[in-house]
Symmetry: C2
Subunit: 217 residues, 2 copies
């Protein structure tokens, strides 16, 4: 049976988009939000896009407690506090960071320099008893939320734990037409997170929803 | 007539590979090296791969003086000194950085944090009278040096000067089967330079020569 996945910060567009697509792929999803009511509303909204999917909502801590696996999809600003508060219920479980630390200056996106190297490495430092992976930074929320739109590109996955990395690649491969690419060490997360800034700048320039693909693999 | 391009540090594998491909595309090339003899040897070596190409060699300063356009393809460690020494002969001209500042730790490539943001922004600070662009970081030197091997992927180009950026996109498009993608501000160079580390780690893991393509553009 597919593991149940909590998406913390799942009421934001990226979180809701991933929730919808993972649920379509057969993963039971619990959307987590600081406010349980907002989480349920977000779940309800997704069920209006496609009825009958295994999506519920709960307050962040309940969501993470009930799930086998947790995705962190919160703004970088709140990442440290949110992660620390959930540490006890995340021990022993897989935790996947989808956080891209970004700032905007005169309309241009910039990757924020994270002292630990990347948002995912910050998470890993705060959750020494969890199995950390990093992935799903570079998919367009708008495209994810259109369930009939065919996605394209590669989901680059990194992490220091083999199990977390392997399952995250499998989760990426469960999304139709996408390919999970395991690139190894969690230290690669910085490049993947920063790519989000590059892609936002490309998308703004070309009014596109681009993503990347590794060719020659 | 196509502008003459000097490739500083052009006796290294990346520089030689770009020299070969640009010459095939019709650009006259001067390979620059600290030692004029080594530059001529490198040019000679490329003519043995394909005879009759417009490739010569010269000491760095002579190469940059004689050329309309200069590519910097030197190791990051020597970039500042090399660039400063050439500043007078590069004034008013296009200068393209292909430098990716990398370090290796336990077999994993890391992007070196550059105080100016990126190698290209370091160059821009040192050459206020030149027109700076940044591109060609992510092509495999080994593939470039096999003239019959079809390249694939996108050459991401950035820069704050419209002319430099436009001509660099044109240069990228002159390489068969590649696409130059103009992403705007030179501040994007960090993401492109860092991608080199990610691609090296991917290539090591999969024994591949991968590069990237932007899909959805």
């Amino acid at each position: 049976m597919a593991p149940t996945i909590a998406i913390i910060g799942g009421s934001g567009p990226e979180g809701r988009g991933l929730a919808l697509r993972f649920a379509i792929a057969g993963y039971p999803i619990i959307i987590g939000s600081r406010d349980a009511g907002r989480a349920s509303e977000a779940a309800q909204g997704l069920l209006e896009i496609r009825a009958g999917l295994p999506i519920t909502g709960a307050a962040n801590e309940d969501a993470a407690s009930q799930a086998d696996w947790t995705l962190l999809s919160v703004p970088y600003d709140g990442l440290e506090a949110t992660t620390l508060a959930l540490a006890p219920v995340l021990a022993g479980k897989i935790v996947t960071s989808v956080v891209a630390p970004l700032a905007f200056e005169a309309g241009t996106a910039h990757g924020v320099v994270v002292p630990q190297g990347s948002a995912a490495e910050l998470v890993a430092g705060l959750l020494p008893d969890s199995k950390i992976s990093s992935a799903f930074h570079n998919l367009s929320a708008r495209d994810l939320l259109k369930p009939d739109m065919e996605l394209e590109g590669d989901v680059i996955v990194c992490g220091n734990d083999d199990v977390a990395r392997g399952q995250t690649v499998e989760l990426a491969n469960s999304l139709k037409n996408l390919r999970g690419v395991d690139v190894g060490d969690l230290a690669n997360s910085r490049y993947i997170e920063d790519l989000t800034a590059l892609l936002l700048n490309v998308n703004k320039r070309y009014k596109a929803h681009s993503t990347i693909k590794l060719v020659g693999l």
